[in-house]
């Protein structure tokens, strides 16, 4: 057997071992004990998940906390499979025409300091997130625009009343950045206390954190899920350089990195470790977009924007780029594979998604000629991050050159990039991205609406029709109606007006030591990080 054949076999075996991510796994009896060491690529700014938006806070801090409901850790690929974390039984169905959710809270759940958790803690938590007092930061306040009130009629009942019925509410509740805090802690210590202190009801208790180095957690003996966690503890090691993160797994200084590696690093690990490495792969709820600045005269004509999308060979790019970058799947505005998202048959009629590339590029040239912009020159602003920004940016420029456009690339460090994108708007076209946790297309697609806070295409107030379609979709009670409206919105945003262009959706690759069991890859690096179900087969 040639070395290439052996490598291919090892890769196939490794990937096959990860089938638990997408299919039924052989039932194994979890072993108790051991400490899981894993790598985190950055340091958390604080321990307060309500205030942070980075995975660097989720990975080391989430295991200390519980949520009201969570994505099922046994089936994290499902966008609709939620389970109770600190509530009782099944996730409740709404009443009152979809506008009231009533949760029964588990009895006897304890915080790490011994306090008993009640429904009032849940209410205090969601009031802090959705209705923070003036001057208190809550970056996910906007997610709860449908929430009217949250109350606790008794110690074991929490009632959420919505302003309008929407399918986006449960996914918002399952957001891993909304852990339950103690009402007493919030009242006695204030709203900033959790930035530097941890007191949760999660599977692990905070042991120590050394800035820039690591965060340690130890098993919480009074955890509310009987028999769990399996681990004695965990150590989240901070390592900024990808080469070290990969070698740390190879040298067994760490067992896993939950964010993900590019294909080359996966292949290197599989080649070096063979059966000792398992690879889990999944579509990723992050998408790289390009954003034409409607404030620039050259990008105001929809025909020019349509030409930009028509020039892009998404289906071909998917095949080639997925070998070198963390992008793969062709999709529209919604996460690929979600029931609300477009199928290939629905995408193909949209501009830029056709399978006849020659015809698409001819149409692009024709549109540019009609707009009097055949010799269009512009600059693509990009973020100074290799994966996948610079790779996709360079690819895009190659695509646009095929229709005669002259495009240069300007790469900026993250802070300058965001300043230009958000404040100065000093760009013709920019790479941009949308990265979310729980798959929730009804909320995630707000990115494509001009009035959204994170829409940088500069067309606020210029497309009222798109805004109305989005609002109708958000408030549509039936899934079929939501789906229908999402197609209308998609066509308008990506094809008819071509306000923005979707390049490729990200692809998550997690190679890890094969002795790590019980962890299944989710479509987001924010999800499935409670670690209570993880065990070590050593």
């Amino acid at each position: 057997m040639s070395k290439y054949a052996r490598f291919a076999l090892a890769l196939a075996v490794g990937t096959g071992l990860a089938m638990g991510a997408t299919g039924p796994a052989k039932a194994e009896t979890p072993k108790k004990g051991g400490t899981l060491s894993y790598i985190v690529a950055a340091e958390a700014p604080s321990y307060d998940l309500h205030k942070e938006s980075t995975f660097a806070a989720v990975h080391p801090i989430r295991p200390f906390y519980s949520l009201l409901i969570r994505v099922n850790p046994e089936n994290p690929q499902s966008p609709t499979d939620f389970q109770c974390d600190i509530c009782v039984g099944e996730v409740p169905k709404p009443t009152d025409g979809g506008k009231t959710y009533t949760f029964k809270i588990k009895k006897g759940v304890k915080f790490h300091d011994g306090q008993v958790m009640t429904a009032h803690d849940v209410v205090a938590t969601y009031n802090k997130i959705a209705f923070p007092p003036e001057g208190v930061a809550s970056v996910r306040k906007a997610f709860f625009k449908m929430l009217d009130s949250v109350t606790a009629p008794d110690d074991e009942t929490v009632v959420f009343k919505l302003k309008f019925a929407t399918g986006s509410f449960l996914p918002v509740l399952a957001n891993p950045m909304s852990p339950i805090y103690s009402a007493k802690d919030l009242k006695e210590h204030g709203y900033d206390w959790h930035e530097k202190n941890v007191n949760g009801t999660g599977a692990f208790k905070f042991k120590e954190a050394v800035a820039g180095s690591h965060v340690d957690g130890v098993k919480f003996e009074d955890f509310h899920m009987q028999g769990k966690p399996y681990l004695d503890g965990f150590r989240a090691l901070i390592s900024r350089k990808m080469a070290i993160r990969v070698q740390a797994i190879r040298g067994d200084r760490a067992a896993i990195e939950f964010r993900g590696f590019p294909p080359k690093q996966r292949d290197d690990l599989v080649k070096a470790l063979g059966k000792d490495i398992t690879v889990q792969e999944s579509d990723w709820n992050c998408v790289l977009l390009y954003t034409p600045n409607h404030g620039r005269p050259i990008m105001q004509d929809p025909r020019v924007r349509q030409a930009l999308t028509l020039a892009v060979d998404r289906w071909g790019g998917s095949q080639h780029l997925s070998r070198i970058a963390i992008v793969k799947t062709v999709g529209g505005i919604g996460f690929p594979g979600h029931p609300l998202s477009a199928t290939k048959a629905e995408l193909v009629p949209l501009k830029g998604y056709g399978t006849d590339l020659k015809a698409a590029r001819a149409e692009a040239k024709k549109l540019l000629a009609e707009a009097g912009k055949s010799d269009l020159k512009f600059e693509l602003m990009n973020r100074g991050t290799d994966q996948p920004y610079k790779i996709v940016g360079t690819w895009l420029i190659g695509q646009w050159r095929q229709i005669g456009l002259e495009v240069t690339q300007r790469v900026e460090p993250t802070k300058t990039f965001y300043n230009e994108l958000r404040n100065t708007k000093n760009f013709d076209v920019s790479l941009d991205f949308n990265c979310q946790s729980v798959v929730n297309p009804l909320v995630d697609t707000s990115k494509f609406v001009g009035s959204a806070g994170n829409n940088y295409a500069n067309f606020k107030g210029q497309d009222q029709q798109l805004e109305e379609i989005y609002e109708q979709m958000l408030q549509a009670p039936e899934e079929a109606k939501q789906r229908e409206l999402m197609r209308v919105m998609e066509k308008r945003a990506l094809s008819d007006q071509a306000h923005m262009g979707v390049t490729l959706w990200w692809y998550k690759i997690n190679p890890h030591r094969s002795y790590v069991k019980g962890w299944k890859i989710a479509p987001s690096h924010y999800l499935n990080q409670s670690l209570d179900q993880v065990w070590l087969d050593k």
């Binding site: 700014p45 938006s53 800035a211 040298g251 760490a254 802070k415 300058t416 958000r422 990115k447 994170n454």
Partner: protein, 323 residues
């Protein structure tokens, strides 16, 4: 001598003040701020109100001149402020990393000195022989090879060879433990970056030792010593080397000062939680308080190292006297 040291210490004040003005205002010339990086860096949807709350809580809404006086006043009351990123006191953040950076700088300096001085002497004494060519090649390679590449090769080499020889890949620890807490762990982590850094450092010092020795060996007093029939070893070690060391000491001292906070890439390659990494984080996050204090720390280390070097001159060359 005491008067001289006092004068030098007083002269540090305008230097530090100038550095403070430069670092404070240059940092603020760059567009963007920490709140945008922190809240929007992941592409999240965040209302402007939340960004304003963040800016207010960090004092970024105050006039710049007020922020500058707060920064300078902090030095007079020994309060360097808190990191805008982690909210921890800057002194605490620096203290965590200082031991590692200091130990690594000392180890790299020892490695460099052990390699550079003997090689430089041999190279000078055996000028234009095969040994000299080898030492010069070794030194040029040390200057030419980036220490981060050497670091990566060391790690890769350890992984590959340990797997080949012992069946399991091994790499140095990636978490720091103090030498007082666990010497074996500490040394097995820090010896590799010390070698990677010390090699480049030794290359510079070896070339300097060689050229200084060559110059001194041609001096009249060396010829006189040889004419008197003095043993060559004594001529080299006692008469030539001590006089040739002045520029070498300067190089070693400046490199040592640079290593305190300047080992940015090496620290990343070996995952060392040192001052260099802290500086990178500070700059990346737009953490003004952290970055400006770290720059000031490096300035202080440089100024003090220069003073110590000047004082060492007097010991090496009795003709130099300070007043």
């Amino acid at each position: 001598m005491g008067k001289y040291i006092l004068k030098r210490l007083i002269a540090m004040i305008p230097t530090l003040l100038g550095a403070a003005v430069l670092v404070f205002f240059l940092l603020r010339l760059a567009p963007g701020d920490i709140c945008e990086v922190r809240l929007l860096g992941t592409g999240a949807t965040v209302a402007q109100e939340q960004i304003d709350i963040c800016r207010e809580s960090l004092g970024l809404d105050k006039p710049q001149i007020a922020q500058f006086f707060d920064f300078v006043w902090g030095y007079f009351i020994f309060d360097l402020g808190t990191s805008m990123w982690t909210g921890q006191p800057v002194t605490h953040e620096i203290a965590i990393r200082f031991e590692l950076s200091l130990q690594l700088a000392v180890m790299a300096t020892i490695v460099a000195t052990i390699i550079a001085i003997p090689l430089g002497i041999i190279s000078a004494v055996k000028q234009n022989t095969l040994i000299d060519y080898f030492v010069r090649g070794f030194a040029i390679a040390g200057i030419a090879i980036p220490s981060f590449w050497l670091g990566l090769m060391i790690i890769l080499g350890l992984l590959v060879f340990s797997q080949a020889w012992f069946g399991e890949p091994w790499m140095p620890p990636i978490m720091f433990k103090s030498i007082w807490e666990d010497p074996a762990h500490n040394l097995s982590q820090l010896m590799w970056p010390a070698v990677a850094t010390g090699y480049r450092y030794s290359a510079v010092a070896a070339r300097m030792t060689r050229s200084a020795m060559l110059e001194v060996l041609r001096e009249d007093y060396v010829r006189t010593a040889r004419a008197k029939g003095m043993v060559e070893k004594i001529v080299i070690n006692r008469h030539a080397l001590k006089n040739a060391l002045l520029p070498v000491v300067t190089i070693l001292a400046l490199e040592f000062a640079f290593l305190m906070g300047g080992l940015v890439v090496t620290e990343q390659v070996f995952n060392l939680n040192g001052l260099g990494n802290l500086m990178v984080d500070g700059v990346e996050h737009h953490d003004f308080t952290m970055t400006q204090n770290l720059v000031m720390l490096v300035v202080i280390v440089f100024v003090i190292t220069n003073l110590i070097t000047d004082l060492a001159y007097a010991w090496l060359d009795p003709r130099i006297r300070y007043s």
